[in-house]
């Protein structure tokens, strides 16, 4: 029964993993909101609704944007959301933090499980589907059904992965604590 660095890593990851799960759930909700639109034809034709809808899409996309993005001048929504932006980068950085910690703790199995996702995150970050370098999710493109469904699938897969890893970390933490 010893409190090793590995045990500490697992405890910290446990907490952060909960945060990641929150991010994943938030993604799912955001994309679901994008997908469902009011079916009322009257609302559809309403320019006011059009504006709201557009803002909504942009808001969600900007929430998901990368840090590099500069707050847009003159955009009310942009200013409002300025603080909250960058949900993507925290997620990526938290996950990268895991990997570094496990590397330091020499937990090779756990690291091995996380490396694929780490690489995916790198790829996603540096090779985003949008033609603009600032947005990971591009408002004009995100509503294309295949892009949207891809994003949704991605979010669900991540949720599943984080949930599983949450329990795995829990198990590992207890195991490390007990075994040592």
């Amino acid at each position: 029964m010893a409190f090793t660095f590995a045990a500490f890593c697992y405890m910290l990851s446990l907490v952060l993993c909960a945060a990641l799960i929150f991010f994943a759930i938030w993604h799912i909700i955001a994309f679901d909101e994008l997908r469902t639109d009011f079916k009322s034809p009257i609302d559809q034709c309403n320019p006011v609704h059009a504006r709201e809808r557009l803002r909504n899409i942009e808001r969600i996309c900007f929430l998901l944007r990368k840090v590099r993005g500069v707050p847009i001048k003159g955009r009310k929504e942009g200013k409002k959301e300025g603080r909250k932006e960058e949900l993507v980068l925290p997620e990526y950085s938290i996950h990268s933090l895991f990997c570094i910690m496990f590397l330091c703790a020499q937990e090779w199995l756990t690291l091995g499980l996380n490396v694929p996702l780490l690489f995916y995150h790198f790829w996603r970050y540096f090779h985003c589907p949008a033609d603009s370098s600032e947005l990971a999710y591009d408002p004009p493109v995100v509503m294309n059904a295949d892009t949207l469904s891809y994003c949704q699938k991605e979010a669900w897969c991540k949720l599943a992965f984080y949930l599983l890893s949450f329990f795995y970390y829990l198990y590992c933490m207890i195991y490390t604590l007990v075994s040592s």
Binding site: P47, A50, E58, D131, S132, P140, M143, N144, A145
Partner: protein, 1238 residues
């Protein structure tokens, strides 16, 4: 009538098919119609008379179909001896009249339209309401026995198929089982055209509706009473030429004429109508017809009526051109059919009454109106009037021709007529005989086959492509030429590409016709508006994956139309769950319920829908225009708007930096604006504003009351504000003088400027602020890279990389400033149109974003200079004229729906995707095309048909909320072979091009090129594996795909995708923008230009348009081997024409056409053909003018001498030849073959 009972009477059904044209017709019919069996020969005459008057009233320019149509219909109605007959006639007549009306040239086109569209309407009448599947099966039965069909008509909607069946049957030779219908096969054989009439009958109804709506209709009705008068009024230029031979000739001519579109319309209408016809001629015609018909038809009156109508039509047409006559004839013949059908079932009387009712109501309640009639403006006219669907019209035209021939045997004629129109479409069915299809389908096909009217087959093929001169020949029995007409499914015939040297047909390539039954074919949406890459939809995604072909739709939703039923109704009937608009492909379970064809939900028919204002009948929801036409426009009620419809607002943002002043575009723009100020679409609320910018932003206060325009300069470009927000956008009419002053002063205001900077970004921000409260259109003119403020750009192009074969960079935007701005604009219903007139690199890739995402359009004029480059200046001038005066829709949304099981994913075009099936379009213009990719999510095994519907909701320039709905219906197949048989190569290529553009931007150009080559390799190898008995060494393609490798090669050599040839980055990006936003017809010319030899033009196969004879030379393949030194060749590249003059070209040609004595004296730069008074000059000019018509971008003409430096421009379009950097066609085939064998 059927109306009273509410029960579906056969007669009623026959009448029901109202179309746009029908409205007018209906109006005419109504007058004559009321009395049962009133022999209103006079009546028709009156109607005719009216028509002329109507024409006179209308401006010649007005294409307004309604006006013309009504007249036509009126004539028709008056003609019918009996009331029933009258109705039919009116319907039929209306159709022909429509044709006539639209363009005199239109005769052909009109006829085509009639058939294509008109016929569908009739069909609808019969069976539209019924479920397709059910109808299909019943239809098959019907086909087998003519008598049955008729009965069915009377009884129920189911019979819709009947009409078509009858027609087809008739062609086969119905022994007058039905007394009325007595059709003689012989007659059919003799006059294949006869079959058409049946279709027209349906059309007439449709037309009837429109006519009602149209104001013109009323007069017609009134006048219609005295039949004699009408006769007189029509000066029958072609008096008694009704003889069959003459008719046939006329038909041919008509077909040719059909090709000619709008132009002819105006002229024809006025002339033909105004001219007093010879009364005697009609009579003679009538007699002839009656004589022949009488034996067969029970009702002599009917035949007579037909003949009369024919005569009338002829008269009308003759003035403009003889071909017109034929169309007229067809109309009558069709009428005959319906009448005959009615007679057997019920007394004639009922029919006539409804027609009258309809007409009267039409005027009053006017459920339907032709848009054209109400609208005075050229825009309106365009909208209503000229159907760009020349193709469709042409298709219809063939049908008319047959009709005239049919006259001899009236009863048979009707049947044949339907067959004829169908045949063109049917051609495929012949060969195909899809086993998979429902029995109904097979039957339908079978009858056609049995009928074996060569002409009919030809027609079927032609229907869609009326434009082509060859149509007549083809129709006359050449099925062989067209892909589809051969008895064996031509589209499936394996072709060894490496051995087939001449893949390219001599006539233009027509879209394949979906393998549907006749009625559905007639009802189906025009391929010009709506095309699918696979006209046979595979049942499952697995089959689609096996076929390796792209599945998607190509849309041209806001096309200028000559006929468009406009429906005003309190309740717009839509499915309660999926919100689909009611359309011709829904099924009526009973009188009170209909089943949605997209989600299969059963809906109630609202009470209002039970009443048909066109026919003034009750209880026939299946005869409503909504159910008779696959393209309709609704006037939306206030439910569809939360704020009042916005006015038309135009803002011009002009670059006035030194560079811009030097280029001199301001003069041209201001001149164009001054000329077209009154033609800007809009109502009395129209507002307009101007801004200019260099390093500062200048606003112009044009508030009414000022003595002269006031210029306000804002130099704070970091935080732009509006100096006087209220007076910058002013009412066009209240401040017209000030606006004119400004436009006159503008070109000279900045002549001495030394400011070289351009603050485009801040100017756009200001424009956005200015437009935010209302929305509208911003037109930006830019001449250089923006160099100040937000959105400034740096030059990214490395000239040394222009001809690189490796990596082409910078195809994407450098900043997302313009994209964000565009999204903001889109949210405020503002579209930004970009005119880039630049001599150097201007980073179009970044600038174009402002238009791409705000649904604007992009114009690019490389190396523009008003004096140094006069051809560009002229092009700008012409483009501006079209741009300023074309129709426009504001605050639009477009929703695309498809049958459950299919789903849309990627969209292509200029818009913002607001929801998975909803496109947000701040502006919509008639030149915008869209593409959608589809996937099959669920197996379609439980359905035999799939439907697609686009609904475009927009605010017209007159402040009306309107919804334009297009519905396309396609069959589902389960075998791979059938999928291949139904490939629409052109649509597939256009979709692939769109996908390749996306790929080049998101990935790289070389990826996109590889993907294009792989598309060919995959699809051909997939096909090869389905054909087991072929030697593997050969490159085998199905007939439907034989042009696929050629087109892909053309794409690879297109500016957008080529490598190795020096291509400026902006040129490349512009080509990509065009691929994304051009409609299919224009895009195909960009991809694969048409080459004609023009030094030996003859009138053989020529078509008539607007009193002009347009020769139709055969297409040449794009290879230098076709160029001879002794010839002169014309290449049509969409926005550019090249005339290549060979060294040894005949001096006579050079002198007659170019105006120079010999080859040596032709100047290097020549962009105009002189107007010389020689035959060959006239032919050449009329041919070029005809080609130029209806283009969104005006074409520049270049005369290229052999051995002049400019000839490389010309030769790079010869895509079958080898270049330093690219394969020749044969090499490409070998390359593909090699890839397949790997």
């Amino acid at each position: 009538m059927s109306a009273p009972a509410g029960s579906p009477h056969p007669a009623a059904s026959a009448r029901i098919p109202p179309k746009f044209a029908g409205a007018t017709a209906s109006g005419a019919a109504a007058p004559s119609g009321p009395g049962p069996a009133p022999h209103h020969q006079n009546g028709p005459a009156h109607s005719q008379m009216h028509v002329p008057s109507g024409y006179g009233l209308h401006h010649p320019n007005y294409i307004v179909p309604s006006g013309h149509f009504p007249q036509g219909p009126g004539k028709m109605t008056s003609l019918p001896l009996e009331s029933q007959h009258n109705d039919y006639y009116s319907g039929l007549y209306t159709v022909p009249t429509q044709n006539v009306v639209t363009p005199c040239t239109a005769n052909q086109s009109g006829a085509q339209q009639m058939y294509g569209r008109g016929p569908p309407a009739p069909h609808v009448v019969g069976s539209t309401p019924g479920s397709f599947q059910g109808a299909a099966s019943s239809a098959s039965h019907l086909y087998t026995s003519a008598s049955q069909p008729y009965s069915s008509f009377v009884n129920h909607y189911n019979s819709p198929a009947m009409y078509s069946v009858n027609s087809s049957v008739a062609s086969q030779g119905f022994p007058s089982t039905c007394g009325h219908y007595a059709m003689s096969t012989i007659s059919n054989a003799v006059y294949p055209s006869v079959s058409y009439p049946s279709l027209p009958a349906g059309d007439p109804y449709g037309q009837m509706f429109t006519s009602q709506n149209a104001p013109t209709v009323r007069p017609v009705k009134d006048n219609s009473f005295p039949g004699q008068n009408t006769v007189i009024s029509y000066p029958s230029p072609l008096p008694p030429p009704l003889s069959q031979q003459q008719r046939q000739q006329q038909q041919q001519q008509q077909q040719q004429q059909q090709q000619q579109q709008q132009q002819s319309l105006s002229g024809y209408n006025t002339l033909s109508w105004s001219a007093p016809g010879l009364p005697s001629t009609p009579d003679s015609l009538i007699r002839n017809h009656t004589g022949s018909l009488a034996p067969t038809n029970n009702n002599p009156t009917n035949t007579v009526a037909d003949s009369l109508s024919c005569a009338v039509m002829q008269n009308v047409q003759p003035r403009k051109s003889s071909p017109v006559v034929s169309t007229v004839l067809s109309g009558p013949s069709s009428t005959r059919m319906p009448s005959a059908a009615k007679h057997p079932t019920e007394p004639v009387v009922p029919v006539t009454q409804p027609s009258e009712l309809l007409q009267q109501k039409g005027v009053d309640s006017s459920s339907t109106t032709s848009s054209a009639s109400p609208m005075p403006n050229s825009y309106d006219a365009l909208e209503g009037g000229s159907y760009p669907d020349v193709h469709s019209s042409s298709a219809s035209s063939p049908a008319p021709d047959p009709a005239p021939e049919a006259d001899p045997a009236p009863a048979p004629a009707p049947a044949p007529a339907p067959a004829a129109p169908q045949p063109s479409k049917m051609a495929k069915p012949f060969g195909y005989g899809y086993p998979i299809l429902q029995p109904g389908y097979q039957n339908a096909a079978a009858p056609l086959n049995s009928g074996v009217h060569p002409s009919s087959q030809g027609y079927s093929g032609f229907q869609q492509y009326p434009q082509y001169p060859g149509v007549n020949q083809l129709s006359s029995g050449l099925g062989g030429l067209s892909l589809q007409s051969s008895p064996q499914p031509e589209s499936l015939r394996p072709i060894n590409l490496t051995q087939e040297r001449n893949v390219l047909p001599v006539t233009p390539v027509w879209p394949p016709v979906p393998n549907l039954n006749l009625e559905l074919k007639k009802l189906n949406c025009s391929p010009d508006s709506f095309r699918c890459t696979l006209t046979n939809i595979p049942q499952t995604q697995a089959i689609l994956n096996k076929a390796k072909l792209p599945l998607g739709l190509l849309l041209h939703p806001f096309r200028d139309l000559t006929q468009l039923p406009v429906i005003t109704s309190n309740t717009i009937v839509r499915c309660r769950s999926c919100r689909t608009y009611i359309n011709p492909f829904v099924s009526f379970i009973d009188q009170r319920r209909w089943k949605c064809n997209l989600c299969y939900r059963v809906n109630d028919v609202p009470e209002e829908f039970m009443y048909n204002p066109l026919t003034r009948s009750y209880g026939e929801p299946h005869k409503r225009p909504e159910v008779q036409n696959s393209t309709v426009e609704f006037i939306a009620s206030s439910d569809y708007m939360l704020r009042p419809p916005q006015p038309a607002v135009y803002l011009f943002v002009l670059d006035v930096s030194h560079n811009a002043v030097e280029a001199g575009y301001l003069t041209i723009l201001c001149q164009s604006l001054l000329e077209n100020l009154d033609k800007l679409p809009g109502d009395s609320r129209t507002r307009i504003g101007f801004m200019t910018f260099d390093s500062t932003i200048h606003f112009y206060n044009l508030q009414e009351g000022l003595s002269q325009p006031q210029m306000l300069i804002v130099s704070d470009i970091d935080d732009v504000f509006l100096p006087t927000p209220d007076s910058l956008l002013v009412n066009l009419y209240e401040s017209k003088e000030l606006i004119k002053d400004l436009l006159n002063a503008l070109p000279n205001m900045f002549t001495n400027t030394r400011e070289t900077h351009s603050a485009l970004g801040p100017a756009l921000q200001a424009a956005f602020k200015l437009m935010s409260p209302t929305g509208g259109r911003v037109s930006v003119f830019q001449t250089q890279l923006p160099s100040l403020g937000a959105g400034l750009l740096q030059s990214r192009e490395d000239p040394n990389q222009r001809s690189s074969t490796k990596v082409v960079q910078h195809l994407g935007p450098a900043t997302d400033f313009y994209k964000k701005l565009a999204l903001d604009c889109s949210g405020q219903q503002t579209a930004v149109d970009l005119f880039l007139l630049s001599s150097q690199y201007s980073d179009l890739a970044s600038l174009a974003c402002m238009s791409k995402y705000s649904a604007g359009c992009i114009y690019y004029y490389p190396s523009f200079h008003h004096t140094h480059n006069p051809s560009q200046a002229e092009k700008l001038q012409k483009d501006l004229k079209r741009y300023l005066t074309r129709k426009i829709g504001f605050e639009a949304v477009m929703r695309i729906r498809c049958t459950k099981g299919l789903s849309m994913h990627t969209f292509h075009g200029n818009f913002f995707v607001r929801s998975t099936d909803l496109l947000s379009l701040a502006n919509i213009n008639p030149d915008a095309g869209f593409a959608v990719q589809l996937s099959i999510e669920e197996s379609l095994t439980d359905t035999s048909l799939v439907c697609f519907q686009t609904a475009l909701l927009y605010t017209s320039s007159k402040g009306e909320r309107r919804i334009r709905v297009h519905t396309l219906c396609l069959p589902v197949v389960s075998s791979l072979a059938d999928v291949y048989a139904g490939v629409d190569v052109q649509a597939a290529i256009c979709l692939l091009a769109n996908m390749a553009v996306d790929r080049s931007v998101s990935s790289s150009l070389s990826d996109a090129r590889d993907a294009l080559v792989n598309a060919v390799v995959d699809s051909l190898s997939a096909y090869g594996s389905t054909v087991s008995n072929l030697q593997h060494s050969a490159l085998i393609a199905p007939g439907s795909l034989k042009l696929f490798p050629l087109y892909v090669l053309a794409l690879l050599k297109q500016k957008a995708f080529r490598t190795g040839t020096s291509t400026r980055l902006d040129d490349r990006v512009y080509a990509m923008c065009q691929i994304k936003s051009q409609p299919l017809v224009h895009l195909m010319k960009m991809i694969h230009p048409n080459l004609y030899r023009i030094d030996r033009l003859t009138d053989e196969g020529a078509i008539h348009v607007n009193d002009r004879v347009v020769p139709q030379p055969p297409l040449q393949k794009l290879s230098a081997e076709k160029l001879t030194r002794e010839g002169a060749f014309l290449m049509d590249c969409g926005s550019v024409f090249y005339i290549w003059i060979g060294k040894g070209c005949d001096n006579n040609f050079i002198e007659d056409v170019l105006g120079y004595p010999n080859f040596a004296s032709i100047p290097q730069k020549m962009t105009h053909l002189p107007e010389l008074d020689t035959l060959s000059s006239e032919r050449t000019r009329s041919f070029i003018t005809w080609l130029k018509d209806g283009r969104p971008l005006s074409a520049v003409l270049h005369v290229v001498k052999d051995e002049s430096p400019a000839k490389t421009e010309f030769f790079q379009h010869l895509i079958e030849d080898r270049t330093e950097a690219a394969f020749s066609y044969y090499e490409f085939l070998l390359h593909v073959q090699q890839q397949i064998c790997k």
